[in-house]
Amino acid sequence: MTSPTPVRSLPRTAENSLLADAHSGTRVEFRGVVKDYGSTRVLHGLDLDVAPGEFVSLLGPSGCGKTTALRVLAGLEHANGGAVLLGDTDVSTVPTNRRDIGMVFQSYSLFPHLRVIDNTAFGLRRRKVAKAQAQRRAADALELVGLDHLADRFPHQLSGGQQQRVALARALVTEPRVLLLDEPLSALDAKVRVQLRDEIRRIQLRLGITTVFVTHDQEEALAVSDRIAVMNAGRIEQIGTPEELYLSPATPNVAAFVGLSSIVAGVASGASVLVWGETLPIVGDPVTGEVEVFLRPENLRLVASGGIEAVVQESTFLGSFRRTLVRTTDGALLQVQHPASERVEYDDRVRVAIEPTPVSVR
C-alpha cells in the first residue's frame, strides 16, 4: 500500500552512521517459553525462530499472549520455563538493560523532561558514548525518521506520530540486536498509522535489523511482515508468510482473523470440492470426503438469481466496495465483498453465489 503523502527519501548511506553500520541482523529464538500469571497460563510452551534480519509479526486478539511473548523477549517479564535466545546466547537471565534491544511501546514513552535529541541519545549515553558523538549519531537517527529539524523540541511539542517516530529513532540509534515493536501504531490515527507502518518497514529493510512486531491488526501485519505468527490463547496457531496465511489458513481462527474468511461445509473429491452445487478447484493437496471450505469475502458475490438465499446482517461502505455480513437460511454467517454500487441494507433478502476461484479446504 502506498502512503497518502510522500515520505522523505532516506539519506545516502555514506552520510548516515546508522546506515553505514547496517549489518545482517541477529537470530531470535523462543524455545518452549512458558509464562504463568498466578494460576493462569498465558504462554503454553511458545516456540518461534526468527531469522537474522527477518520481520516477524505476532498477530492475535487481545489476551492471546502476543505482548507477553514480546515482554519476555525484552526481559520485562520473566518466563516460568523455556529459553529465549539472541544470536546464540541464552538471555533468559540477562536483565533488560543488558540485552541490547530496541523497543517502541504502545503508549508514548519519550522522556518528558528531555529534548528530542537528548531522548534519542539516551541509549548511547548509557553505553558511555561521548556526548558530542552521541548527539551526532542521534541526529543521524532522527534524519532516518525525517525529524532532524525537531531535535530541540520537547516531547509535548510533538504530535503522536512524531513522538512514535522519535521513539523509533531512539530505539534504533544504539544499533540493537533486535527491534521490538509493541503495537506502536495503535494510538495513532488511520492516515499516520499507514504512513509510519510503511516507513518502519522501509527503515527495517535498509538497516537489516531483526524485528518482532506485535499487533492485533491483521491488515498491518499482512502489509509489513516477512512472516506472521497468528497466536490464540497462548499458542501459535499458524506461522507463515502473509500469502500462506491468507490463502491457506490452518485453523478456523486463523481464517477468520487473517482473511475474514467464512467457513461452510462441502464435499471434496480429489482436486475439487462441491459447495452449494458448485464445483470449485482446491488450493493445495487433493482430499476426499466431507470438508470445511474457507470462503474469503472476495470469493463471494451478490447475484440476482441462483446461489443461495441469505439475509443481510450488516453492510459496511469501504470506499470502492462494500463488505456485507449475511446469514444463510441454515444459519451460517458469510462475509461478502461487492461493488459499492450494489447497495443493501439490514434485513434485505439477497442471493449469494461463489466465484469459481480456487478455495482452501480443511
Binding site: 536483565p95 538493560n97 523532561h113 548509557r126 520537547f154 531512539r170
Partner: protein, 264 residues
C-alpha cells in the same frame, strides 16, 4: 459574560478577604514588634544584634540551627527513603498500595501527644545508640510528614506513566539507579519539591514532640525566649515567615528555570 468565573468585583472581594485573613495577624505582629513605650521604633529589631542581649537570644539561634538540620535530615528521609519506596510499590507491588497509603496517612489522625507516648521509650534506645543529638528527632518527623509528603509525591507519580518510562529506559540500557535518578526523579520534580517544602514547613513549625522529648528546636526556643522577651519572639516569628516565603519563591523559580516548558 456568561462564564462560570466570578465577576471582577467578586474576585476582588474574595481576594481581599483571604488576603486579610493572612495579613492581619502578620501585620499586627509586625506593629507589635515596633512598639516602643508610647511610640514606634526599631529598637526591638536592633536588639537582635545587641551583644548585651546575645545570651538571652542564644536558645533561639541554637534552636534554629537544630531545626534547620532536622529539616535537612527529614527532607533526606522523604527523598531517599519514602520516594524510592513509593516508586517500588507503584511498579512492583501495586497490590500493596492501599495498605501503604493507609499507613502513610495514619500519622495525620494521631495527635502528637499520643505519638510522643509511644516514641519516648523508642527514643531511649535511640539515645543509647545514636546519642541525644537534636537531629535524631528527624526519625519522628519523618513519620509526622509522611501524610503530606505521600500525597504530593503520589499525585506526581499518578500524573506520569513511570511504568512505561522506566521500561523504555531499561530497554535502552539504563540500570535501576539511572532509571530512578535520570528518568523518574526529573519527572516527579514538582511533587518532590512540594513534598520537601511541606516537610521543611512542618519541621520548622513542630513544637509538641520536641518539647515533650526535651529537644531544643526553633519553636521550643521561641517559647523559652517569649517568657523573658515577647518582642524578640515576635521578631523571630516574622523572620521565620519571611524565610518560608523566600524559600517558596526560590524553589519555584528554580523549578521554572529547569523546566522545559518554560522555554520558547
Amino acid at each position: 459574560m456568561t462564564s462560570l468565573a466570578p465577576s471582577r468585583t467578586t474576585r476582588w472581594v474574595i481576594g481581599i478577604l483571604v488576603g486579610a485573613f493572612f495579613a492581619i495577624p502578620m501585620a499586627s505582629t509586625f506593629f507589635y514588634t515596633l512598639r516602643d513605650d508610647d511610640g514606634y521604633s526599631l529598637v526591638h529589631w536592633a536588639a537582635l544584634f545587641d551583644p548585651a542581649k546575645a545570651a538571652l537570644y542564644r536558645p533561639i539561634w541554637t534552636g534554629l540551627g537544630n531545626s534547620l538540620v532536622l529539616a535537612l535530615v527529614t527532607v533526606a528521609i522523604v527523598l531517599f527513603l519514602l520516594t524510592p519506596t513509593m516508586v517500588l510499590v507503584h511498579l512492583r507491588f501495586p497490590k500493596l498500595r492501599p495498605g501503604f497509603e493507609f499507613l502513610a496517612l495514619l500519622p495525620i489522625s494521631i495527635p502528637a501527644i499520643v505519638v510522643v507516648v509511644g516514641l519516648a521509650p523508642i527514643y531511649q534506645h535511640i539515645a543509647r545508640m545514636l546519642g541525644t543529638g537534636a537531629w535524631t528527632l528527624a526519625f519522628a518527623y519523618g513519620v509526622t510528614v509522611l501524610p503530606f509528603a505521600f500525597r504530593s509525591i503520589q499525585a506526581s507519580i499518578d500524573a506520569v506513566d513511570i511504568r512505561t518510562l522506566s521500561e523504555a529506559a531499561r530497554s535502552l540500557g539504563a540500570g535501576w539507579p539511572t532509571v530512578l535518578l535520570r528518568v523518574i526523579a526529573p519527572n516527579l520534580r514538582s511533587g518532590l519539591l512540594a513534598a520537601s517544602l511541606i516537610s521543611v514547613a512542618v519541621v520548622l513549625g513542630e513544637f509538641t514532640i520536641a518539647s515533650l522529648l526535651n529537644r531544643q528546636v526553633f519553636q521550643t526556643a521561641l517559647v523559652v525566649v517569649k517568657n523573658s522577651d515577647g518582642y524578640a519572639a515576635s521578631v523571630f516569628t516574622l523572620l521565620a515567615l519571611a524565610f518560608a516565603f523566600v524559600m517558596l519563591i526560590v524553589i519555584q523559580l528554580a523549578g521554572r528555570a529547569r523546566s522545559g516548558k518554560g522555554r520558547p
